[in-house]
């Protein structure tokens, strides 16, 4: 009886520690599923290369540090630009040709791209993680009394929240976002209003990829930089996207953070289920609301 109680009421530091890890994971889930949602909304492409593009962001930071001596802060800008531009090339020369085809082709194409990109990096850097240190400014942490909060982790949560809110704001509340929403519904008509939709599609894909790359840079000091860092994460992120509702911006953000926290809590209360909890939730959500929690049923 006492033993059971011991499991059911964990000590506060363990609880908050897992909650923090959950929040950190959630921050990455949210940023990645947000990019996927934006891309899926406009391009109708399930971007399986998203994990590889996240990895590219981390590697970009690692490479410019080791070869050019450029540190963490400039990398937050450089990696999304470089990887986003690379994404736009992929869209322009490969993905563009399959918009009229079934989803399956987009999935195969982007999955193939992910395998190639990951393969190339594994060839040169092996599967082991490369260390990337926390910037000096964010070293150390705060003792909050009930737990110790590393500064870098607080920064990741803040940065991710700002990115997510900013993206949500642009899409839901600005004119640019209105173009995007309208083109998601009816690209032909938006084109007939004088908007260069193909260019908008390229830029949107580039933006989604840049968001993944930014997440990769943020992740580099926490998870290390390894060629497979994205493929480990992306499966969970897809579950998050499905739970939130394919293509739903708010669903991706709320779902990302919420599921990260739920996963963290599962680690405290029933660790054996922690890796499956999200998928169980996905199954339940699909049974009850097939379009996802925030999905629009058309």
């Amino acid at each position: 009886m006492l033993g059971w109680l011991h499991i059911a009421v964990p000590p506060a530091p363990a609880l908050f520690g897992q909650l923090l890890i959950g929040l950190i994971n959630g921050a990455f889930y949210a940023m990645l599923s947000l990019g996927l949602a934006v891309i899926f909304g406009l391009l109708n492409i399930i971007n399986f290369a998203h994990g590889a593009q996240y990895m590219l962001g981390a590697f970009c930071a690692y490479l410019v540090l080791n070869y050019l001596g450029i540190g963490y802060w400039p990398s937050l800008l450089i990696a999304p630009i470089v990887v986003g531009a690379f994404g736009m090339l992929l869209e322009r020369f490969f993905i563009r040709w399959i918009y009229r085809l079934d989803h399956l082709y987009g999935l195969l194409l982007t999955f193939g791209m992910a395998l190639i990109i990951q393969g190339v990096f594994r060839q040169y850097y092996g599967s082991a993680g490369q260390p990337y240190s926390i910037p000096d400014l964010l070293a150390g942490g705060q003792d909050l009394g009930f737990m110790f909060l590393p500064n870098y982790r607080a920064w990741v949560i803040a940065a991710s929240s700002v990115c997510c809110f900013g993206t949500w704001f642009v899409i839901e509340r600005t004119r640019l976002g209105a173009y995007l929403r309208a083109a998601t519904e009816n690209p032909t008509l938006v084109q007939a209003f004088g908007i260069n939709v193909p260019r908008m599609v390229t830029l949107t894909y580039g933006f989604g990829v840049a968001l993944a790359a930014l997440a990769g840079v943020l992740a580099a000091p926490i998870y290390q930089v390894s060629p497979l860092m994205g493929s480990n994460l992306i499966i969970v992120v897809f579950a998050v996207v499905v739970i939130g509702g394919m293509g739903s911006i708010l669903g991706a953000i709320v779902g990302g953070f919420a599921l990260g926290i739920i996963e963290g809590l599962t680690k405290v209360f029933y660790p054996e289920a922690s890796s499956t909890a999200i998928f169980v939730i996905m199954v339940v959500v699909l049974l009850v609301k097939p379009a996802g929690l925030f999905g629009r049923t058309v």
Binding site: R175, A178, Y179, R181, A182, T184, E185, N186, T188, L189, V190, Q191, A192, F193, G194, I195, N196, V197, R296
Partner: protein, 239 residues
């Protein structure tokens, strides 16, 4: 059927052919619309009226022939460049966006030239829209959605409006309202190409009527001759 209008035509279509995949829908459409006039394309279902509008707008991939707008050949341009030359399109299904509010729908098409209708004048023309500005676009009634679809292309500075069956499925009182709006738009200097099946409505707003049959223009009837040629028109339209 290159009429007198051709001399000062704003829009001139010659030998236009178009395809939907395998099926050849337009077989050489010829007509012209003069600046400032309202012209209609009348014809039965499937005659090729909507296809003609889509071909002009450039949203149909397979088309051939000559389309000249304000002296410029436009058939090889992508749709967004055609729009930027001053042609605006109101589709048959109205194309009101569900994920945008009424106001966002109204403000969506970018301004392509100065001289568009100011927003307060648009609300004056369609007061219902002002009342529902913050509602979701598709929550409007059918008639209001039609008004919104017309309203949003007035702001942009486009000179030629392509309206695809703006009265379809609407109550008579709404049809009257739309008719009055079209007359006011003509007075305001817009050139309008209207697709219609309802020639009684067309007669109240248009200057000339082109009859479309099997993907060709088979006749042109000036509005003042419509009365005299009613029997012929009945035959064309099968009413």
């Amino acid at each position: 059927m290159r009429s007198a209008a051709a001399a000062d035509a704003l829009l001139e279509v010659h030998g236009l052919e178009a395809w939907y995949g395998e099926s050849h829908v337009l077989h050489g459409v010829d007509f012209a619309v003069a600046a400032g006039e309202v012209a209609t394309l009348l014809g039965r279902n499937g005659a090729g009226k909507t296809t003609t509008l889509k071909s002009i707008m450039g949203i149909l991939p397979e088309r051939r022939g000559t389309i000249t707008f304000a002296g410029r050949a436009i058939i090889d341009l992508p749709a967004y460049r055609i729009a930027r030359l001053g042609i605006a399109y109101c589709p048959e299904d109205r194309g009101v966006f569900a994920s945008l509010t009424v106001e966002e729908n109204l403000m969506l098409p970018p301004v392509i030239a100065p001289g568009g209708m100011p927003v307060d004048q648009i609300y004056d023309l369609f007061p219902n829209l002002l009342e529902h500005r913050m509602s979701q676009g598709t929550k409007l009634s059918g008639g209001e959605q039609q008004m919104l679809a017309i309203a949003r292309i007035l702001r942009t500075g486009a000179r030629l409006l392509l309206l695809d069956e703006p009265t379809e499925g609407l109550a008579p009182v709404i049809v009257q309202q739309i008719g009055a709006a079209i007359v006011r738009l003509k007075q305001a200097g817009f050139t309008i190409l209207l697709v219609e099946q309802n020639f009684r409505f067309a007669a109240t707003v248009a200057d000339r009527h082109y009859v479309v049959e099997h993907g060709r223009i088979v006749d042109m009837i000036p509005n003042e001759r419509l009365e005299a040629e009613t029997n012929k028109l009945h035959e064309y339209l099968g009413v």
